[in-house]
Structure formats: structure tokens, C-alpha cells
């Protein structure tokens, strides 16, 4: 299933903790609209690169879908940053 939310948490060593819930479904919606607007350009780019546009788009969708479960934690003296894709 396509990830719907990303959580970004920043904890500076001195200061307030920032925790953001990013609604990825809005990003996907924007990407769909952008993809439709730019579809002629995407088609031309695929023709130049001799790629099947459907294969290219499907491969990109697979990457987005596979991002669910990604977890990145970086802990440094200045701050701790955590990114989770759910």
C-alpha cells in the first residue's frame, strides 16, 4: 500500500522538540495532477530515451509504494532527527 503519512521529528539538544506529521496522500495527489499536466513532456522524454512510458510510470509508482516502512534516525550532539514513512 502506498505510504500515506511521513513523521519528521527534530529534537535539538537545547530547545523544543518539533514533530511533524506530513500527509503524503496530498503529495501523491499533487504528483498525479502534475503528472497529468506534464504528460506530453513525459511522453516526449520517454520517446527520446526509447522507454515505454507506462513501464516508466509504473516503476516510479512501485518505488513510492515500497517506501512504506522506511525509518531513518540520526542522532548528533546538536540534534536528533527521525524520519518515518508509514
Amino acid at each position: 500500500m502506498i505510504p500515506l503519512i511521513a513523521i519528521v521529528q527534530v529534537q535539538p539538544s537545547h530547545g523544543r522538540r518539533i514533530r511533524l506529521w506530513l500527509p503524503l496522500f496530498l503529495v501523491w495527489l499533487l504528483l498525479v495532477v502534475l503528472g497529468l499536466v506534464l504528460s506530453p513532456l513525459i511522453l516526449i522524454a520517454c520517446l527520446i530515451a526509447r522507454l515505454n512510458p507506462f513501464t516508466a510510470i509504473w516503476s516510479l509508482i512501485r518505488v513510492f509504494v515500497a517506501m512504506a516502512g522506511t525509518n531513518i534516525e540520526v542522532e548528533a550532539p546538536e540534534a536528533t532527527v527521525i524520519v518515518r514513512v508509514i
Binding site: S59, V63, A66, T70, I72, E73, E75, P77
Partner: protein, 140 residues
């Protein structure tokens, strides 16, 4: 020779069973072992690639810890994305790999090969400790 088989042969040698009975018993023994081997759980497929870095105070700008968990699905999708590399760029990638001592043709990486690779990654474990930092790469 295992104990059960030896016991059957002892019974045959003592004349307590005949050759046909011994053969039936040995066949039954082999069949039960075959089914128990088939029931054995298949090796666990790893779901995530994990990279853990623990750099001490004497490394770079100070102590730092990095913990990255990447779904195997993302690796699969990434390799499939490699099929979209245009032929000219693929040649450049291959040339760069060759220059760095990796004679690999990226166009030869197929999803089947990738599945085999991922299955084998279950036992993959890299531990590097240079005194200042520890790096661990493993699958879970």
C-alpha cells in the same frame, strides 16, 4: 547408519522379521523423514536492510548515531527502476563500475536474480569497528 535403521537390520539378522518386512519398515522410515523435512520451515525472507552507525567522540565532528531501516521492497523497486536507464547512460554506469573494479553489467540484473540475492541476504551481516566508529549492516 542411524539407530532406527540399525534396529531394523538387527531384527532381520535375529530372524524376528523377514526381508520383505524389513524393506517395508525401511521404506516407511524414509517416507516419514521425507515428510518431516518437507514440513520444516523455509528460511525466513528478510524484510528490511538495516544500517547502524555508531561514531564515537573522536570521529569527525563528534559522536553520532545513525540508524537506517530500508524495506527490501524499496531495493526491489530500485533495481527495477534500473531497467529504465537509457542505453547510453547504462554504458557510462558500466564503465564507471569497471573502473572501480566491479565488472558488472547493470542491464544483466534481472528480477529473478534479485529475488535469489534477497533470499540469501538473510544471513548477511557486516561488522566494521575501527576503534572510533562501528558500522553494522544486516538484514532483518
Amino acid at each position: 547408519m542411524d539407530e532406527d535403521r540399525r534396529r531394523i537390520l538387527d531384527l532381520l539378522a535375529d530372524g524376528k522379521i523377514n526381508a520383505d518386512e524389513a524393506e517395508r519398515l525401511i521404506t516407511a522410515l524414509g517416507a516419514s523423514r521425507g515428510s518431516s523435512a518437507a514440513d520444516a520451515p523455509s528460511p525466513r525472507k528478510p524484510k528490511y536492510l538495516r544500517v547502524v552507525v555508531d561514531a564515537g567522540a573522536g570521529y569527525g565532528e563528534g559522536p553520532a548515531k545513525v540508524n537506517v531501516r530500508i524495506p527490501m521492497q524499496l531495493l526491489r523497486a530500485g533495481v527495477r527502476l534500473g531497467a529504465l536507464i537509457p542505453a547510453q547512460a547504462r554504458e557510462q554506469v558500466n564503465a564507471a563500475l569497471r573502473e572501480n573494479g566491479i565488472p558488472l553489467d547493470v542491464s544483466q540484473i534481472r528480477p529473478d536474480n534479485l529475488e535469489t540475492l534477497i533470499e540469501q541476504l538473510g544471513d548477511f551481516n557486516v561488522d566494521v569497528d575501527d576503534g572510533h566508529a562501528k558500522v553494522r549492516v544486516f538484514c532483518e
